[in-house]
């Protein structure tokens, strides 16, 4: 560096992005130190959506906490409920009927598709393209229709119970799901033509916001973020749960670690999820959807256990510590977005503001999930 450049007065200023800002998808605030439009430091400030879920886990019975789980990561509510229900079942030693496991996987994977569709639209809004959002929402509405028919909710599903699911699925649901799978498969080429092949989109994503596999590990980033960095880590494969080991599906991995890789991982996951749903529908066994003899008020034995599931955003974990009463002694909810966002500060350094917001978009944040 020349002497002039060193002595040149560098002026930075602080820009407060949020808590209300279109790009932060909620109430995230980022304290940016900018040099022109280059980011010197970007410190996320969170907690604007803190809703005491962990506290509430301690002061109500296990069953009464169920609706809360759907309100953390409300875009992919099934997974949170799944993780929580499984953790309590593991602790209390409840076995779930096979049909219920299949239904859980079908609904959860449909929810993953819905979540990814929403993400694609929202990400394109971050990049300034509005139209894809309305296409993806249109497809997403069809999933919500299906799920609403069995769960009774559009968004904050509370469908799983300890020992099964609360409603059995009917033939309408199965037929509708098959129809939807065919429909979405036929739409995927359209999405790729509209988004993936768009030159501006490629320019804005390829090589932008690289995240190394090492950084993912150090910060605990999971889900499409780590899979976009070339690590095939998927809880469904690494620590198989439910009926996933019996199903044939791939874990999409892209090695570039840039925004494009994370986008492609999610697009491929939509296709993979459709495959999973199709297989599960094909092999759906009969039988009950609720385990018999699940006590009304659950009192798991003393001890703790951990259960994590592959949510749409990464590994969602629940640690339940029980003291033998009908309320959890401690309920730790490990949210994937929390860890995914924590690497933003390091990875955004030196980036342009607009690129950093693209990177932020690909982390797929749901703020109340971070703040819990």
């Amino acid at each position: 560096m020349s002497i002039e450049a060193q002595t040149l007065h560098r002026e930075t200023f602080i820009l407060n992005l949020g808590p209300q800002h279109p790009a932060t998808h909620g109430v995230l605030r980022i304290k940016l130190t900018l040099d022109g439009e280059y980011i010197e430091d970007a410190e996320p400030v969170i907690g604007y959506g803190h809703r005491m879920h962990e506290k509430m886990g301690e002061n109500r019975t296990y069953a009464k906490f169920l609706p809360n789980t759907g309100r953390m990561d409300y875009v992919a509510a099934m997974f949170n409920t799944h993780g929580y229900v499984c953790a309590v079942e593991r602790l209390a030693g409840i076995t779930v009927p096979e049909r219920a496991e299949f239904i859980r996987v079908i609904t959860a994977e449909l929810n993953r598709v819905a979540s990814h569709l929403l993400w694609v639209g929202a990400f394109l809004i971050d990049l300034g393209g509005f139209t894809p959002l309305l296409y993806t929402f249109d497809d997403r509405e069809q999933i919500l229709d299906l799920l609403e028919a069995v769960t009774g909710a559009r968004l904050t599903f509370c469908y799983y119970r300890f020992g099964g699911v609360c409603n059995d699925i009917d033939d309408d649901f199965i037929a509708g799901t098959r129809k939807f799978i065919a429909h979405l498969r036929s739409r995927m080429p359209m999405y790729h033509a509209l988004i993936t092949k768009n030159i501006i989109f490629r320019r804005r994503c390829e090589g932008i916001g690289p995240i190394s596999a090492e950084n993912c590990r150090k910060y605990g980033a999971t889900g499409p973020v780590i899979r976009g960095s070339g690590v095939a880590y998927d809880v469904r494969k690494a620590e198989p749960y439910s009926i996933y080991p019996r199903l044939d599906f791939n874990v999409p991995v892209y090695g570039q670690g840039d925004c494009m890789a994370r986008y492609l991982v999610r697009m491929d996951e939509i296709v993979e999820s459709l495959r999973i749903v199709e297989q599960a529908l094909d092999r759906l066994p009969g039988g009950p959807v609720m385990a018999e003899k699940v006590p009304r008020i659950l009192k798991p034995p003393k001890g703790d256990c951990y259960f994590n599931v592959e949510s749409a955003r990464g590994s969602f974990g629940v640690r339940v510590v029980s003291d033998g009463t009908d309320k959890a002694y401690r309920m730790k909810l490990r949210s994937p977005c929390f860890s995914n966002l924590s690497l933003f500060q390091e990875c955004s350094r030196g980036m342009l503001l607009a690129d950093a917001l693209a990177l932020l978009g690909t982390l797929d944040l749901v703020i109340p999930d971070i703040d819990r």
Binding site: I46, H50, E54, E58, R90, G220, R319, K332, S339
Partner: protein
């Protein structure tokens, strides 16, 4: 999953933790069934050894999933639980440490795992556990001026 490889790794970790000098009490290492507990190895270390444990986990290419506290009122202790998972192995290790409730202090591991920064701040928010050497131990989820620790069992009492 290569179980044997896992076991040797766990044994190594157990040996390393055990071998650290001037340890007041030897670390407790128990192998647990993943299907029943959700983790494969349960390690209890003294509070001042969490950094050593973190270093071992880091060398074994484990990922830090979460740090959390548990308030054991009856024993007047806080338990700090570190969840590690190995990306390649699909194995999960829990490292626990206990600190007295009156002086909840233990060293930070945010130099080894930068991701621990936020988890420790969160534990500080909720329990008031002080991680010594932490770069900025200010409220993360609670308002900036919060002076309460809501997940303590005596909160609001």
């Amino acid at each position: 999953m290569p179980i044997n490889m896992l076991k040797t790794k766990f044994a190594e970790i157990a040996v390393c933790v055990a071998a650290t000098p001037d340890t007041p009490s030897a670390p407790l290492v128990t192998e647990t069934a993943h299907a029943a507990k959700g983790y494969d190895l349960d390690v209890t270390v003294p509070a001042d050894r969490v950094t050593g444990a973190a270093r071992i986990m880091d060398e074994a290419a484990f990922m830090l999933e979460a740090i959390t506290g548990v308030d054991w009122m009856a024993e007047q202790q806080f338990e700090i639980v570190y969840d590690y998972t190995a990306v390649a192995l699909g194995a999960r290790v829990v490292v626990r440490a206990r600190v007295p409730r009156a002086t909840p202090e233990l060293p930070t591991i945010s130099r080894i795992y930068p991701g621990a920064n936020w988890h420790e701040r969160e534990a500080h928010d909720f329990f008031g556990i002080v991680f010594t050497g932490h770069p900025e131990l200010i409220p993360l989820l609670l308002p900036e001026d919060a002076d309460f620790h809501p997940l303590r069992k005596d909160f609001g009492a």
